[in-house]
């Protein structure tokens, strides 16, 4: 079911198609869409490209959104589809290109000392690399529960998995991450 606040945003955009109404929708869900794309793509620049495409597509077809699910669920599905499409295209182009993808998690950490920033960056790299080794359902269950703080019922709608299955996935993902603690901490 669509949130009341989301309904207002959608109605406002459909009626006015204004830059302000588009900005409100984007700002509300940009972190969610971007982080989802980042988990799948492991690359900040690619995640940015995909996130833009997701919102452009969503705003274009917003008038067709029926409200059967939440706007978040709808955006998540668009993001996952867009990521698949992006990966296919990238795979095709990398066959003919010798470029190495170095735009990988180029973090700007403004509040910490340079040494701490480097240590954190390496830790983040290892953690995200570890997340990428998890099966998709485990990774997404973990990320949506841990980072997005969604309920199991909401995650069930997104991933199409039962609540009991999600709980098992969540435990397995957390256990694997903890088991790799030594590897992660060794910097």
């Amino acid at each position: 079911m669509i949130l009341e606040s989301d309904k207002e945003l959608i109605d406002d955009y459909i009626k006015s198609k204004s830059e302000l109404s588009a900005t409100k929708i984007v700002r509300k869900y940009q972190n969610f869409v971007y982080s989802t794309a980042l988990r799948y793509l492991q690359n900040y620049d690619d995640a940015d490209d995909v996130a833009q495409e997701v919102f452009i597509k969503a705003l274009k077809y917003l008038k067709n959104f029926r409200g059967d699910s939440s706007l978040k669920t709808w955006l998540y599905k668009i993001t996952v589809n867009m990521v698949s499409s992006f990966k296919r295209k990238k795979k095709f182009y990398t066959v003919f290109s010798n470029e190495q993808d170095d735009a990988y998690l180029n973090i700007e950490n403004q509040d910490k000392s340079p040494l701490q920033a480097v240590e954190d960056q390496e830790f983040e790299l290892k953690l995200l690399s570890l997340l990428s080794t998890l099966p998709d359902k485990q990774r997404e269950t973990f990320a949506l529960r841990y980072f997005e703080n969604l309920s199991y019922e909401e995650i069930s709608k997104l991933l199409g998995t039962s609540v009991g299955g999600l709980k098992a996935n969540y435990f397995q993902a957390v256990k694997k991450i903890a088991a790799s603690y030594d590897k992660i901490m060794r910097i």
Binding site: E19, A22, T23, V26, R27, Q30, N31, Y34, S35, L38, Y44, A47, D48, A51, Q52, F55, I56, L59, I107, E108, N109, D120, F123, E124, L127, R145, Y146, F147, N149, G164, K167, A168, Y170, F171, V174, K175, I177, A178, A179, Y181, I184, M185
Partner: protein, 230 residues
């Protein structure tokens, strides 16, 4: 035993939320009352808390927020760019169509496929279809020697000796006159075969002036018969 297995499963399902302090009170009480029975889960809790303490320090939310701070601007910019969809899709088809039209125009007017049929016809001089009475007009004194030689290739035996004489007189060039005579006597090489050297041709030409028309025709006929016989 079965009950313990079910409890163990439930403990596993609650463990992450317990570690991250996102568990409701009822589940929390259940978990804490049963954890003593499962030492492996106790170890698990220690490891998870250690790792995720570090993860929490990374402030993923802050990182993501910094990365997306300009996303709405980029999206709005692209939305504005994509707006004139009709004009852009029209241009998308107009340019290739225009290009193809230019290529077709160039192919038609530059290469002119019809021209390829002409050369064979062009080689034939117009006088190939002249009437017998007009043949004498071929011998135009303004014609060059080379033109006369080329022309001689198309002459047929319908030309009278007078015509030939006329042509030969109008040319001051012995070579041209020779060619005219030879081409109008079939198989001119036969003349050489009878042993007449070429330096006598001018004499022959001079003598032709004094030969009657009927005699000349007779000579030509004899030569022709000789050739047929051979």
């Amino acid at each position: 035993m079965e009950k313990n297995y079910d409890i163990y499963n439930k403990m596993q399902e609650l463990l992450p939320d317990y570690c991250f302090n996102r568990i409701n009170e009822e589940d929390k009480r259940f978990f804490e009352s049963n954890i003593e029975s499962f030492p492996d889960l106790q170890k698990e809790i220690e490891d998870v808390k250690a790792v995720f303490a570090k993860i929490d320090e990374l402030d993923f939310d802050g990182i993501i927020s910094r990365k997306t701070r300009n996303l709405s601007v980029k999206v709005n910019k692209r939305l504005k760019k994509d707006k004139p969809a009709v004009g852009r899709s029209f241009m998308k088809y107009l340019v290739p169509t225009f290009g193809i039209a230019i290529l077709m125009f160039a192919a038609f007017y530059v290469f002119k496929p019809g021209d390829r049929l002409e050369p064979a016809n062009k080689a034939l001089p117009e006088f190939m279809v002249l009437n017998p009475n007009d043949e004498s007009k071929l011998f135009d004194s303004t014609m060059t020697g080379e033109e006369l030689i080329d022309l001689s290739q198309y002459l047929n035996n319908s030309l009278t000796s007078d015509d030939i004489l006329l042509a030969s007189r109008d040319t001051a060039n012995i070579e041209i006159a020779d060619n005219l005579i030879m081409d109008n006597i079939k198989d001119a090489d036969d003349v050489f075969m009878v042993g007449i050297p070429s330096e006598h041709y001018s004499n022959i030409l001079d003598e032709i002036d004094n030969v009657d028309e009927s005699d000349l025709q007779g000579i030509l006929k004899d030569i022709k018969n000789a050739q047929d016989f051979n």
